[in-house]
């Protein structure tokens, strides 16, 4: 595999915010915030952490593309170098 393990990174960062959630059991196409019970502040924290790790701006205007686990993973894959 080339490039960073984005899936692993996403799972790790989500685990820091929602440690009690079994990420293998969530609906990866559904709203991440419902699936992992995260609020606006948690989501901002997640975006901050991912943005830092991947040097991505993660603009607020793109939040709609980051709504689900799959969507967010796809977004990272598209933008991460």
């Amino acid at each position: 595999m080339t490039g960073p393990d984005l899936r692993g990174m996403l799972i790790r960062q989500l685990g820091r915010i929602a440690p009690e959630i079994d990420l293998t059991a969530i609906d990866t196409a559904a709203d991440l915030r419902d699936e992992c019970d995260i609020d606006s502040m948690d989501f901002l924290k997640l975006v901050t952490a991912l943005g830092r790790e991947l040097s991505l701006p993660m603009p607020e205007a793109d939040y709609d593309q980051m709504r689900s686990f799959d969507g967010l993973l796809e977004y990272l894959a598209r933008h991460a170098k």
Binding site: R33, D39, S40, M41, L44
Partner: protein, 402 residues
């Protein structure tokens, strides 16, 4: 010399367990320093010194559960230990309810040898005791989650030594038959406060909706091009709008105790924060009318972070003058709060959504959120409540002025 007391962190708190002594006897303390941590039903609370001086001696051992008002330590004003001791007990000092040594509750992990107990505050203290060695426990670093687990299971943390930070992984999971589920203490605290509220406070309720078009446009513009850690959340604007509005409506900002309402000069706005795994706390964002929005956002971020780690400061817990409960962008249309005694009002803001509004005879799509006020009829009426709500709504129509 002044005693440093187990503080009351809310009307529902009767006692607390001293879990950290962060200053050694003889060390200097400065007003605002965190000198101890106390485990309560609401989590681990950091207690700050309220005056400058030197810590003379700890009066309560680590792990002891003592009633509110019990002297935890003595603070002397000068460095030398021969400071003339004040007569004790001080006349205006709340004294511990029970003069007997506090029984160690079964869930407290640290049995303390009675020989090593510092003198009780009631004992005559002819001369301050020489500074004992800094006990090992002081150096032991334990995560709040591990400390809670240890308290639940009765595990003695000392057995793990002080070489490294103790985490949840070091402790066996609690046995479900014997251990208290972690939620129950928190749930009991919520139940006590809310039952008291519903029993004592004659609530009245008002509702309206806020046009959030201007607020959301302002936030989008502000956040565009900013790194995530610098972005604002709508909650910050709600807090600031409330902090401004209470200035003209003081009867919603303060405390009602012993038949009397005391308005507050400060806008310490309690923010209801949901805890993972259940439970809720509403610590204060102090002086929410002060500083820039960016500054308020930084303080909110810090507060939420610490609350989620189960660690916040005494004055944040005891100080709110009014509370905001906001469901963020992923909740339901509206929320009507229950007032946290001894406060007299709580504002609820639901999740923003698209609504059809009629303006100038035209139907338009507009972003809006439901806003509610629950307030105390002993202090105010619906007429003034409506004025207060309109003031909050109006503030949010001019977000650039916040």
């Amino acid at each position: 010399m002044t005693p440093f007391l187990m503080p009351s962190l809310g009307a529902d708190m009767e006692d607390g367990t001293l879990v950290e002594q962060l200053i050694a006897p003889g060390e200097r303390v400065t007003r605002g320093d965190i000198i101890a941590a106390v485990e309560t039903q609401k989590g681990t609370i950091e207690i700050e010194a309220f005056e400058d001086g030197f810590l003379d001696a700890w009066l309560v051992p680590l792990g002891a559960k003592v009633p509110v008002g019990t002297p935890l330590a003595m603070i002397r004003s000068s460095e030398k230990a021969s400071d003339t001791p004040d007569p004790q007990p001080q006349p205006d000092m709340p004294q511990p309810v029970d003069p007997a040594p506090p029984p160690l509750p079964p869930e407290v992990p640290q049995p303390v040898d009675p020989e090593t107990l510092p003198p009780r505050p009631e004992d005559p203290q002819p001369s301050p005791t020489p500074a004992p060695d800094f006990p090992d426990e002081l150096r032991q670093r334990v995560t709040p989650a591990a400390r809670r687990r240890a308290a639940q299971t009765g595990f003695d943390l000392k057995a793990l030594g002080t070489k490294r930070t103790i985490t949840l992984d070091d402790l066996a999971p609690p046995q479900t038959e014997t251990a208290l589920p972690p939620l129950s203490a928190m749930r009991r605290a919520i139940a006590d406060a809310m039952s008291r509220s519903k029993r004592e406070i004659p609530h009245y309720y008002l509702s309206d909706s806020i046009d959030l078009t201007a607020t959301e446009a302002f936030i989008a513009k502000h956040n565009a091009g900013l790194a995530p850690e610098q972005r604002l959340l709508a909650a910050v604007l709600y807090l600031r709008a409330m902090a401004r509005a209470v200035q003209k409506f003081p009867e919603f900002n303060g405390t009602y105790e012993q038949g009397q309402f005391t308005p507050s000069r400060h806008a310490h706005i309690g923010m209801a924060i949901n805890l993972r795994g259940g439970g809720l706390v509403a610590p204060a964002l102090q002086d929410a009318d002060q500083g820039s929005l960016d500054d308020l956002m930084a303080r909110l971020r810090d507060l939420v972070e610490r609350v989620r780690r189960g660690r916040f400061r005494a004055r944040e817990l005891s100080g709110p003058t009014i509370t905001l409960t906001s469901l963020g962008d992923r909740g339901v249309r509206g929320i009507t709060g229950v007032i946290f005694p001894p406060q007299v009002a709580i504002v609820g803001i639901g999740s923003p959504c698209w609504t059809a509004v009629v303006r100038d005879g035209q139907v338009r799509a507009c972003r809006s959120a439901a806003i509610t006020l629950a307030a105390d009829h002993r202090v105010s009426d619906g007429h003034r409540g409506a004025g207060f709500m309109r003031a909050v709504i109006n503030q949010l129509q001019k977000p650039e002025a916040l």
